[in-house]
């Protein structure tokens, strides 16, 4: 595992540093209350909006998140039936 440790600092960048980094990112998100509790609601609302235009299945939505220290990404995937116009 040399995700962080360059041989430049062979002693310092041990796995404990990785543990600290991971915890800092996670806890920053947890403490700010940005726990994804709003997601069920977000999902419902997105589906409502889409349902005004196309017929979609309640299960056809998939939300994925990846938290980072600088920014987080939210990936929303919605399966649409082939549109007939």
């Amino acid at each position: 595992m040399s995700r962080f440790g360059f041989p430049l600092w062979p002693r310092r960048a041990g796995s404990a540093q990785t543990a600290k980094d991971r915890l800092q990112i996670l806890l920053a998100h947890e403490r700010s209350g940005s726990a994804p509790d709003y997601l069920p609601q977000l999902q419902r609302e997105i589906l409502e909006v889409i349902a005004r235009h196309v017929k979609v299945d309640r299960e056809a939505i998939d939300i994925r998140m990846e938290r980072g220290d600088e920014l987080s990404s939210l990936e929303i995937n919605i399966e649409l039936p082939t549109a007939k116009r």
């Binding site: 995700r3 991971r22 996670l26 726990a35 994804p36 069920p40 939300i63 980072g68």
Partner: protein, 282 residues
């Protein structure tokens, strides 16, 4: 046994990793065993039953990707497939994280059963990481199990709690209360095995533990700095650099799958006597 009627080619097993006592290595073992099964190509999911104290996601290294959890699925706020996190290293490995904010009452028996039944359709192995104790969370983690791995450290309170848990497995579970059902198959996994302390007589040896618990031995995992390092970086120990602990988990999984693998302690072979006495029956 609904699932057996539906499909006979696909056998799905629910395995609880339990202990009674806290901090003995259940989560470490759940991650390692789940990953080792998945590495062998079995479609595996590890579920965190420790509601309110989510930890499995950290140990598996997917903590930044949790969106929905087990409780969201039970309460109908999310679909199961939305809550499952697929491992980035082994694509047959999945995690179902638990909630950090709810309490254990959210684990209803009907809810747990529904989720497990849905998982049985898709997965070969469903590993349930039990919380410590014998309260609701631990009860729900073991209730629907087909097999149990009782994680035990060679010291008095851990062995005593393991005995208590073995009693619950054989009396207070679905299989125990169903007429004609096979009882849960329980095996002991001794972890944090410290040969130096055992040799000094400070810790009970394996034979002492097995004599008391009288269930087959699945494996012995040595006390190892590799476990701490693996948890620091969020990699199950069997996916990290080779180590004695990782090998011990690989071997345990081989035995779980019915392979004949000799049990070794720190590279030493154990005398065959024990395996003959306690060796698994078919």
């Amino acid at each position: 046994m609904k699932q057996q009627l539906k499909k006979d080619t696909h056998v799905s097993k629910v395995i609880v990793i339990t202990s009674g006592k806290g901090g003995v290595g259940k989560t470490t073992s759940s991650a390692a065993i789940g990953a080792a099964l998945a590495k062998r190509g079995h479609k595996t999911v590890v579920i965190d039953f420790d509601v309110g104290l989510r930890n499995l996601d950290m140990i598996m290294g997917c903590e930044r990707r949790v969106v929905y959890d087990f409780i969201n699925v039970i309460q109908g706020d999310a679909k199961l497939k939305q809550a499952l996190i697929r491992d980035k290293r082994v694509d047959t490995l999945h995690v179902l994280p638990t909630s950090q904010t709810r309490d254990k009452d959210a684990l209803t028996q009907e809810g747990v059963e529904a989720v497990l039944n849905e998982l049985r359709e898709e997965f070969d192995y469903i590993i349930c990481d039990s919380p410590a104790g014998i309260e609701r969370g631990a009860h729900m983690a073991m209730y629907f199990a087909d097999e149990a791995i009782v994680v035990t450290n060679p010291e008095v309170s851990s062995v005593r709690d393991s005995d208590r848990v073995l009693g619950l497995l054989s009396s207070k579970t679905h299989r125990a209360t169903q007429d004609g059902a096979e009882p849960i198959k329980a095996q002991v996994l001794i972890t944090r095995y410290d040969k130096a302390r055992i040799d000094k007589g400070e810790m009970m040896n394996v034979d002492d533990v097995l004599e008391i618990l009288a269930v087959p031995l699945l494996g012995i995992v040595p006390e190892s700095p590799a476990v701490l390092k693996a948890s620091n970086v969020g990699v199950p120990v069997v996916l990290d650099d080779p180590s004695a602990a990782g090998q011990a988990y690989e071997d345990a999984v081989g035995r779980l799958l019915g392979e004949e693998i000799e049990i070794k302690v720190d590279g030493e072979r154990r005398p065959g006597l024990l395996r003959r006495l306690f060796g698994r029956t078919a």
